[in-house]
Amino acid sequence: MATLSPTVHRKTLLRRIWDAKLVYVMLVPTFALLFVFAYYPFFNALYRSLFNWNGVNVEEFIGLENFSTLLSVQVVTIDPQIDAATGELLRDEDGNLVYESVRQFMRADRERYEGYQSMSSFMIGDHQIHLVAKDPVFLNSFVNMIIFVVTDVMKATLIPLLLANMLYHLWSERWRYIFRILLILPAVVPGVVGILLWRDFYAMPVGGREAGLVNQILGLIDPSLMHTWLGDVNTVVPAIIFTGFPWVNGANTLILLAGLLAIPGELYDAAKMDGARGWTIFWSLELPLLRGPLRLVLVFALIGAVQGYGHILIMTSGGPANASMVPGLWLYRNAFGFNKYGYASAIGVILFIILIAFTITSQRMLRSEVEFEA
C-alpha cells in the first residue's frame, strides 16, 4: 500500500544563493575591499615573515629565523674574577667584587652568543646573572605591552562601568541626557591634541618656561615632588598610563549604559522582592547581564592596547632609552626605520597570535547565556 507523504520542497544551497543574488552582489564590494586591504596584507605579512626582506631588492628565504631572533633568550652567569697571583677574589678600590663585563664575556664565546645583547641582570649570591637576548628591545617592549594591556583594559572598563551605573540610576531623565552629551563631546576633539596636551602637562620648569599642569599641582604640595616624568626610565611608563586621567571614555560608557537600559525592569522588581539592594543588585543582576557589552568594550581595549603605539610615538618616541617601547612601535621602527620589513612582519604575526589568544580567552571568560537587546 502506498503511503502518502507531504512533499517537502527543499531548496538546494545554490538555489538559495541564486534567490538572494542581489544581496550577495551587494556584499561583493565589501568583501573584495576587505580581502584586498585586510586579508591580503595579513597573509602577505605571514609569508614575508619567513624572509630577510628589505622591502625592495633583498628577499631571502630564512624560514623561522626572524621568529627565533625575536624570541631567543639565554641566561649568562658571570662569576667574580680571581686574582691570579693570590688565588683570592679580586676587589676594586671600594672593596667590591670585580666582574668581567657581559659584553666581553659574550665576545669570548662568539659562536654561542653571536647576536645576543644584554637585557637585564641581577645578583644571586656572588654570581651575576644576565638575561641576554637577540632582540632585548622587543622583549622589553613585550613586558611594557602587558602592563599597558592590563591598565588600558581597566581604564576602558572600570571607569565607564562606574559612570554608566551612576548615569543609569540618575533620577532625572533630563540630566541623564545632558550627561550623555557631555560624555561624548570630548570625542570630537582629535586624540592627538589630548596627547600633546598631556606631554605639556608633564613638563618641568626649564629656562623660564613654566612647569606643566601636573608638576604645577605637585609643586604646590611640595616642590621636591616635581619631576621629569617622561624623561626618567623609572617613571615614563606610569606617566603614560596616567595620561588621560580620569580616563572618561564616552563611547564605552554609552555602550555599557545601553546594556543597562536593556535589562527588563521586572528583573529589578524581582531582585528587590528578594531583598537585594545596591551592591547586590549590581553584582548579582547588572554585572552578569552586562557581559555582552563588556565583552565588546574589552575586546576593543585589548586590540587597542596590543596594536596601539601612536600616543607613545608622540609622547616619548619609545624612550628614554627604549623604556617605553611597545611592540607596535618596534614593528614600525624596524620596517620604516631599518628597512627590515620581513622582521617587522614577524613582529606583526606574533602580535596577531597574541591578539587572537587574548580575544578567545576574554570571550570565554565573559560568555553569557542571557543577553537582552537594547
Binding site: 665576545r107 629656562g207 623660564g208 618656561r209 618616541s317 628614554p320 626605520g337
Partner: protein, 502 residues
C-alpha cells in the same frame, strides 16, 4: 618589400634608444619636480618657467610635500614606481642608494653641462669637498647638490652683555661660559636627546673627525697610488672616501673601535662634560626636537646650535615678540678643543659643521625620455647663470614692503655668491680630514638607533658611565659594520680584507 620594411623597422627600433636623448631641442614631455622646502618653491617655479621658455615641448610641474614623513613618501613612491622625476632631498638619500632606488650620477657628472660655457665636467661645478662627502660607501654620487649649510652657535647677545659673558673661542672657555650662564640663573642650551635635535650629535662628528686625523692614512688603505694625506690641504682628500671594507679593517685593528681607540674615550668624556655644564639632562630626555627652536627665541635658552636655515625664522620670530622681550643675537663658531684637551687635537684646527644641505635625486630605471628631461633641467638649474639668479631672489613683505631673501642657504654651485651678511657661516673646510669617527655602521639606520639610545639618551642623560657607553658603542658599531658589509657586498674587495684583517 614587406621583409625590407620589417628589417628597417626592427633596425630603427633597436637603434632609437641608442640615440642620445639629451639633444636639448628635441626634448618634449612632462615631469614633476617635488620639494619639501616652502622657501624654495618660488625660485624653483621660476627655474621651471625659464626652462619651459627655452623648451616649449616640456612641462614641469613644481609641487610641494610636507617634511613630516618625507622619507617614507619618497621610499613608498620609489618602490611603487610612482616617484616624481625629480625629488628634493636631504643627505639621507644614500638610504635609497643602498636599495638601488635612485640614479647614480657618476656618468652624467663626468660629461660637461651644456648650459655652462666651459667644457669642464658637470661635477666640477659643485663646491668641494662637499660633493665628495656625498659619496655612498660604494664610492658613488647619487645626488645633484643644491645648497650647503653652515652651522654655528647662535647666542643671546643681550643676555651675554648684561651678564658680562663673552663668546667663547675654545672648548674650555665654552664650558666656563655655560657655567657662567647657569650661575646667572639661566639655562645655557635647551637640547632634546632625540634624533630630531642635532645639537648633541653634530659636535660628535666635528670633535671626533678632528681627533682622528692622525689615523687617516692608517684607515684609508684602498687608495690611489701615491696618495698622501695633507692636513693643511683640504683638497688632499678629494676623491677619497672610507669604504666599508676599510672601516671593517680599521675596526678590527682597534683604530676605530671605541673600546680600544683612546680618541673615543676622550670625545665621550668631553660630551659628558658638555651635558653636565650646558644642558639640563632630565629635561633633555623628555624634550622633543620641535621645542628647541622656540626655546631660543623666547629666551628660555641662551645658546642654540643651528644653521643658516634658521636665520630667517629667527629674524621673523624676534620681530614678532613684544618689544621688551626682543633681544640682539649673534653667532660664534663651535668652540674647538686645543692641544690642552688632548694631544689628538694638535693637527690643525677643528672644522666647523658645514656640509651639503640638500640636493636632487632622480629615480632609477626611469623612462629614458623623462630621465633625459630631468637631467637636462637639473643641468639648467645648476648652471652658474641660472643658479645665481635663483639664489638672489627675494620675497616682499606685504605689510612693510621690505624685501627678504627666500633663503639664506649658501649655494652648492661654484661661482654663485652668498647672501651679504651671512659670510661668517660660509661653508669652508680649514683642514683635511675624513669621516673616520663612526657613530654607527656606515649608513646603518639600526646602528644609529642603537647609538641614539645608549649614547644620546643613556650616557648624555646620565644613566650610564663612560666605560659602559664605550662598550655598548663598540658592540653596536661592530654589528653595524657587519650589516654594512652585507649591504655593500658588491663593492667589497675580498682580497683587501684577506690581506689586511688582523
Amino acid at each position: 618589400m614587406f621583409k625590407r620594411m620589417l628589417v628597417l623597422l626592427l633596425a630603427l627600433a633597436v637603434a632609437l634608444p641608442l640615440v642620445p636623448a639629451t639633444a636639448q631641442e628635441d626634448l618634449a614631455g612632462e615631469i614633476t619636480f617635488v620639494t619639501f622646502m616652502g622657501e624654495w618653491v618660488t625660485p624653483f617655479e621660476t627655474a621651471a618657467a625659464d626652462y619651459m621658455a627655452l623648451h616649449p615641448g616640456v612641462t614641469i610641474t613644481v609641487s610641494t610635500v610636507p617634511y613630516d614623513g618625507l622619507q617614507d613618501f619618497y621610499r613608498t613612491n620609489l618602490v611603487g614606481g610612482t616617484a616624481p622625476e625629480i625629488m628634493h632631498a636631504e643627505p639621507w638619500w644614500n638610504n635609497f642608494a643602498s636599495l638601488e632606488l635612485i640614479k647614480q650620477m657618476d656618468d652624467v657628472f663626468a660629461a660637461p653641462n651644456p648650459y655652462n660655457e666651459d667644457d669642464t665636467p658637470w661635477g666640477d661645478a659643485f663646491v668641494q669637498p662637499f660633493l665628495d662627502f656625498t659619496r655612498d660607501p660604494g664610492g658613488h654620487i647619487n645626488v645633484v647638490p643644491w645648497s650647503l649649510y653652515g652651522v654655528g652657535m647662535f647666542y643671546n647677545k643681550t643676555f651675554f652683555d648684561n651678564n658680562g659673558i663673552t663668546a667663547p673661542t675654545n672648548w674650555d672657555e665654552f664650558m666656563t661660559t655655560c657655567k657662567a650662564i647657569k650661575d646667572a640663573g639661566a639655562l645655557p642650551m635647551y637640547v632634546a636627546l632625540k634624533p630630531n635635535d642635532a645639537q648633541w650629535f653634530w659636535p660628535l662628528g666635528m670633535l671626533g673627525n678632528f681627533a682622528m686625523r692622525s689615523e687617516v692614512e692608517a684607515v684609508n688603505l684602498r687608495t690611489a697610488e701615491g696618495w698622501a694625506f695633507d692636513v693643511e690641504d683640504p683638497t688632499s682628500t678629494l676623491g677619497e672616501s672610507i669604504t666599508v671594507d676599510e672601516a671593517w679593517v680599521a675596526f678590527n685593528k682597534g683604530i676605530i673601535d671605541p673600546l680600544a681607540a683612546p680618541e673615543y674615550r676622550v670625545i665621550a668624556e668631553m660630551m659628558n662634560e658638555w651635558a653636565e655644564n650646558c644642558i639640563d639632562r632630565q629635561a633633555a630626555l623628555a624634550a622633543d626636537g620641535s621645542e628647541v627652536y622656540q626655546a631660543f627665541w623666547t629666551g628660555q635658552s641662551k645658546i642654540f646650535m643651528n644653521g643658516t636655515w634658521f636665520i630667517s625664522t629667527l629674524v621673523n620670530e624676534i620681530n614678532n615678540l613684544p618689544e621688551e622681550q626682543q633681544f640682539e643675537w649673534n653667532i660664534f663658531a663651535y668652540p674647538s678643543p686645543t692641544a690642552d684637551n688632548g694631544e689628538m687635537f694638535s693637527m690643525g684646527v677643528m672644522n666647523q659643521n658645514m656640509n651639503l644641505r640638500n640636493g636632487f635625486i632622480v629615480p632609477a630605471n626611469l623612462d629614458p625620455a623623462k630621465e633625459a628631461i630631468a637631467i637636462d633641467f637639473l643641468q639648467f638649474m645648476t648652471s652658474t647663470e641660472e643658479a645665481s639668479k635663483l639664489f638672489s631672489l627675494n620675497r616682499v613683505d606685504e605689510e612693510t614692503g621690505a624685501e627678504y631673501p627666500w633663503s639664506y642657504d649658501p649655494p652648492a654651485v661654484v661661482g654663485v655668491p652668498m647672501r651679504p651678511g651671512t659670510e661668517a657661516l660660509y661653508p669652508r673646510i680649514d683642514n683635511a680630514e675624513m669621516g673616520l669617527f663612526l657613530t654607527n655602521g656606515q649608513g646603518d639606520t639600526q646602528g644609529w638607533d642603537e647609538f641614539l639610545n645608549f649614547f644620546g639618551q643613556q650616557y648624555l642623560g646620565g644613566m650610564i658611565d663612560t666605560d659602559a657607553v664605550l662598550e655598548e658603542w663598540s658592540f653596536s658599531l661592530e654589528g653595524g659594520l657587519q650589516r654594512a658589509l652585507e649591504t655593500y657586498e658588491e663593492d667589497i674587495d675580498q682580497q683587501f680584507l684577506d690581506e689586511n684583517l688582523p
